[in-house]
């Protein structure tokens, strides 16, 4: 399988074009991403650039592929054998779908916050320390410092500092969600992937999480999946509207919601409100 000289040159040119096409200002780039589950085409030729330190909201009706797109970004789609993923997702110039890099290391670049919190079966302290230990930190003082720092970062430290060795079960669902966020931040991710993180929370807890996202975007890029239009308006720097596995429209919330171009977004806005 030797390549001819012309073919090799053409091959190198293609690679160079692909490399120069990668936007260095973007923390994550998706190119020609397609996901199939048998005959069902779940994501159709997705192309997307996620800029640094912004909140990007993936908006759309149920089943439009938002969560699948999010799971592609940290390769949680690998768990499902039925899903066939093709295309490119670049993080720091590394194509995570076609890389030899260890998948757990790729996942550590992205913290995931699910629809409902899943604290690990260990104490509040160990939940946060778990992520730190995964990064290879063994020094007890360093771990203590990091646990305190990340619990403070999510505004949970004052509420749990006297109960660090208790089960997370004693916390409210909102507090558990913030604990999961602190645990995710302890792994030092570049991006926070949030899949409807406030859907199981009461309005007060939701507001706390939203405020946290506003603060966290100074240091992290946040990709948020939501159904709630108002939440998108409140939080988003950019909104990506999806329907039926495709990106229909994207832009700033002001532009997108004031002057929607597509009929699907208009219809979604009418029903969503």
């Amino acid at each position: 399988m030797y390549l001819l000289k012309e073919e090799m040159i053409a091959h190198d040119k293609t690679i160079n074009i692909m490399k120069t096409d990668i936007d260095t200002e973007s923390v994550l780039q998706i190119k020609n991403l397609n996901v199939h589950a048998g005959d069902h085409h779940i994501l159709k030729n997705i192309n997307l650039r996620i800029p640094k330190n912004k909140v990007i909201v993936l908006l759309g009706p149920s089943g439009c592929g938002k969560t699948t797109l999010l799971k592609c970004m940290n390769r949680l789609t690998d768990i499902n054998k039925e899903l066939e993923v093709s295309g490119h997702i670049y993080i720091e110039n590394d194509d995570i779908l076609n890389t030899s890099t260890n998948v757990p290391l790729i996942r550590q670049k992205m913290g995931l916050l699910g629809q409902r919190p899943y604290p690990l079966p260990m104490s509040i302290y160990k939940n946060v320390a778990y992520g730190i230990r995964l990064k290879g930190v063994r020094d007890k003082k360093m771990i203590n410092y990091s646990v305190e720092k990340h619990l403070k970062e999510v505004g949970l430290w004052d509420e749990v500092k006297d109960r660090l060795h208790h089960s997370p079960g004693i916390l409210s669902i909102g507090q558990q969600q913030r604990l999961c966020l602190a645990r995710g931040l302890a792994v030092k991710p570049r991006i926070i992937l949030a899949d409807e993180p406030t859907s199981a929370l009461d309005p007060i807890s939701s507001k706390i999480i939203e405020n946290l996202f506003r603060d966290l975007k100074l240091n992290y890029t946040i990709i948020l999946v939501t159904h709630v239009l108002r939440q998108a308006v409140r939080l988003a720097d950019n909104v990506v509207f999806m329907s039926n596995g495709e990106i229909i429209e994207q832009g700033s919330p002001q532009k997108l919601f004031k002057h929607p171009k597509s009929a699907k977004l208009k219809e979604y806005m009418v029903n969503g409100n």
């Binding site: 949680l76 757990p104 995931l112 899943y118 604290p119 079966p121 260990m122 995964l134």
Partner: protein, 296 residues
């Protein structure tokens, strides 16, 4: 819709629902309490019949000459043999069964068909009668040139109880939410870290249940050890020596025409029940202690 139904019809409907509800409750309660009553009856019967023969000598002494004809001594040989065999077999079953259950749930999570085939095979193994395991163990023993011994008994009982450990633990692991796997994976944990640091910890009460079921089956089974462990009045010291077991001790004593010896059989059954009770309580205590931080 309600306007189409008369007041009397509605009242009759309500009455029927109330009767149905009461009937179902009574039937369920009868089923539950009759089960508890049966268990209580068995234990009480054993205690009543065996209490007179129960003595310190019986627990702390091995049989002396003519024990099975009413002579002096006890069943220490069978107690020790049973504990050796069931603890050894449970240990082997755990070493094989726990990684197997974790492998099915974590590593084969993507391969549903393979998962189901393996579960089907293990279920079939669970259903095989213990006498078949005994016969298999006996053939294996002859093939390897071994005599009836503690080791042969341990291996045969381990074969018998490994499917119990795997499937019981596996059933508990199935109830762990997928979100916990995803959350652990998203942190960058490897599958081994997820298996042993998170999923095993979350499924620990299920592991204890699996252990108890397996130990209970192991210590109480007579057919699998009949040909493989043999029977002796001596306490085994080495793995290649034959070992007596409590179920066989009960069987031999119960077959005796001497009433006094038959009473001792019930006393041996009391000892077996107490051993299982102690192990069960200890396991529940451990389970509670080590799952304090688990989410319920």
């Amino acid at each position: 819709m309600f306007s189409d139904i008369s007041f009397t019809e509605r009242r009759n409907m309500n009455k029927r629902k109330i009767i149905e509800e009461k009937l179902f409750r009574v039937l369920s309660a009868v089923a539950t309490y009759s089960l508890i009553a049966t268990l209580a009856f068995i234990i009480i019967l054993i205690f009543i019949k065996g209490f007179h023969a129960l003595s310190w000598d019986m627990v702390f002494k091995a049989p002396k000459g003519g024990y099975y004809y009413g002579g002096e001594g006890g069943v220490l040989n069978a107690i020790v043999g049973s504990l050796y065999i069931s603890i050894g077999a449970t240990l082997i079953a755990t070493l094989i069964g726990v990684p197997a259950a974790l492998f099915i749930n974590v590593h084969l999570a993507r391969y549903k068909r393979t998962q189901n085939t393996i579960r089907y095979i293990i279920d079939a193994l669970w259903g095989v009668p213990s006498i078949v395991y005994g016969a298999f163990g006996f053939s294996l023993m002859l093939f390897l040139g071994m005599n009836a011994s503690l080791l042969a008994g341990i291996i045969t009982v381990a074969l018998l109880i490994t499917p119990i450990v795997v499937r019981t633990f596996d059933e508990v692991l199935c109830t762990i939410p997928k979100g916990l796997y995803e959350a652990s994976m998203a942190l960058g944990s490897t599958r081994s870290e997820i298996s042993f640091k998170i999923i095993f910890k979350q499924g620990f009460p299920g592991f204890i249940t699996a252990l108890l079921l397996a130990f209970g089956r192991g210590i109480g089974d007579a057919a699998s050890v009949l040909f493989t462990a043999g029977y002796t009045d001596l306490i085994p010291i080495h793995l290649d020596e034959p070992a007596a077991t409590l179920p066989l001790a009960i069987f031999f004593q119960l077959s005796s025409p001497i009433p006094e010896v038959r009473e001792r059989a019930y006393a041996a059954a009391v000892i077996l029940t107490i051993i299982i009770l102690i192990i069960s309580l200890a396991a529940r205590f451990l389970s509670k202690k080590y799952t304090k931080t688990n989410l319920k």
